[in-house]
Symmetry: C2
């Protein structure tokens, strides 16, 4: 097992990464001060892993309530969130009750937001079971639900007390979900870690066949990168925005085609290619850099062209994104591979060209 710390002062917390962690109640028990907890999972993950997690807790005398959410991004809304609140209240949870999120990014974001709001904030633990959640959404305290007009529009910054990453849970992850997670892994290399990008170029096939040592290395390097950014800028006043590389375009794709049609990582891969085209147009990236990126995404089994959406629709959706400031789009672009910057210098024309360059040719 490896342990990283997200050094956020009073709110510091450990990320444990390893095999067989799910059943090791010694990590959780010290956090369950009142002998009660609620595990939030979904209908896909719960049958696979919930018992393994809950049983040792129950044996230790903890009263464990369960919430099984429907599975999918399209359920990441207020109606679903209510079902968590209902159980928290029916179980007489208190301000000191710790909530546990067991699942992918949607479960983690919703359970985290429920914990942020319930009685104005209760502690929670992230147990991510998808690669995407393990390398990205479980770390850093961003929680949210979607609004019909935009992704993650309603949310809170609420740091977990612990992230428990059991790499065994990746064994049951569908291939498409694994590939989606790799988009975020590649993102860290592009943003600030060229040597990690090169490591990925050398090892992407090992990750696709789920070689445990390769997966563990990728998760650890991703979390280390993410933790460094979060520590420097918890509430995204500056540097943290770099983590949104590809996300403004990507969110437009996810919202534009309807939540859940495209997986998050798929949309981010295409969005990152759009950001690459814009960076090329700024003279920051070379064509050969863009091709390296395209090749790596393709080898990872990810799309590099978007869905059939008009550029007008993209722009409309991007106006709702949280990255708009003073009416100008603030986009994450690449000065070079491994060096991302936030920029509002792109003209509307250039943005449209970048979208078109990565839209399907009719």
């Amino acid at each position: 097992m490896d342990t990283l710390t997200v050094a956020l002062g009073e709110k510091a917390y450990p990320i444990h990464v390893g095999s067989g962690l799910l059943g090791r109640s010694e990590f959780l028990l010290p956090l369950l001060r009142y002998p009660k907890t609620v595990i939030v999972s979904n209908v896909t993950v719960a049958p696979l892993y919930l018992k393994q997690l809950a049983e040792p807790l129950r044996q230790a005398g903890i009263d464990v309530a369960e919430v099984r959410l429907p599975d999918g991004e399209r359920f990441k809304n207020w109606q679903t969130l209510q079902t968590i609140f209902d159980v928290l209240l029916q179980s007489h949870c208190e301000r000191t009750t710790t909530l546990i999120a067991l699942g992918g990014g949607v479960v983690g974001d919703m359970a985290g937001f429920a914990a942020a709001c319930f009685q104005r904030g209760i502690p929670f633990v992230q147990i991510p079971t998808t690669l995407l959640a393990q390398v990205d959404s479980s770390v850093g305290g961003k929680t949210a639900i979607n609004h019909p007009f935009g992704k993650n529009m309603i949310g809170a910054f609420h740091q977990p007390s612990l992230v428990l990453t059991d790499t065994d849970t990746l064994n049951t992850l569908p291939d498409r979900e694994l590939r989606s997670g790799l988009a975020e892994v590649i993102k860290y290399g592009l943003i600030k870690d060229l040597s990690f990008f090169e490591w990925l170029e050398a090892n992407i096939e090992r990750l696709l066949v789920r070689e445990p040592t390769a997966l563990r290395e990728a998760i650890l390097r991703s979390c280390r990168n993410k933790a460094a950014v979060v520590i420097a800028d918890e509430r995204e006043h500056g540097e943290r925005a770099l983590l949104n590389l590809g996300h403004t375009f990507g969110h437009a794709i996810e919202t534009g085609v309807g939540y859940g049609e495209w997986l998050h990582g798929e949309a981010v891969a295409v969005g990152t290619m759009m950001a690459a085209e814009l960076s090329l147009c700024h003279g920051w990236l070379l064509r050969v850099d863009v091709e390296r990126m395209e090749n790596l995404f393709k080898r990872a089994g990810l799309p590099v062209y978007g869905p059939r959406l008009t550029t007008e629709r993209y722009l409309e959706l991007m106006q709702h994104d949280k990255k708009v400031q003073n009416g100008r789009l603030r986009l994450v672009l690449l000065r070079a591979l491994g060096n991302a910057v936030v920029s509002d210098s792109a003209s509307l024309n250039d943005i449209q060209s970048a979208i078109l360059a990565r839209s399907p040719h009719v």
Copy 2:
């Protein structure tokens, strides 16, 4: 005009109290960094005061959107909150857009919670128009909505950037609402300011006839008391809980009879009398103290006996309150007039007796 500061470090903010402040845009304009704002009000307050507030802003070039919520505690729920998010998104609000709450406690709590969650937090200003909001809910950053199982169950700590208290708005406040606000004013005296309690015994009639200097004095002393507690304990880990004197019983009344049937201050007055009975039973208060409290509440036109609810129903509702810890009810009791303490020492029997002592005799 008088100004108090809630000295919360980076989050410090001023409370301006005075006459004619609503139309003085110089307080608001420096906070509206992007020339756009959304004013959240309700259908009762908006026709009276919204134009007075919005017009000078529009003349200064600010794009002002408006949300008019339905009026009443029973609308303090997620459905109503959605209407705020819808306008924020339709108006293309950004992370730097400042939201303005114009109204009583319900408007302030909902607008504040919307500001806390929208894009994970945007700035907001409180412009309270009821006595209750001016002396209590607008100060201290507690925001929330209700859940069918409990009041203020879903919320956030989110401090305003400014509180603007225009005492002229009290001229249109219905008598019953004025009296409801006086319950919270009396509360501050009971908790930690005996000389303020005595001042109220001497001046309550001046407040009831809305004598401006008396109202201003009561508002300032209340806000000063509240600010001191909030500064010492922003997130209610300790002392801030004292502000909940009468509220655990009071919330049970509000939820038990249906939101909006009893005004908040009315329920708090009765709840405070129940806490007084418990304090009497502990030997902390004397019968003569309880009578002084009862007399002041009665002179303020407030009820001192609760609705027809069984003690079982009270206890069930109180179990959902945020003041439960390790399954025991933590109640605010009075060691003496002007000296409140948090205590979990009351037995179930004593709590039932206190409820019965303040329930209507059949």
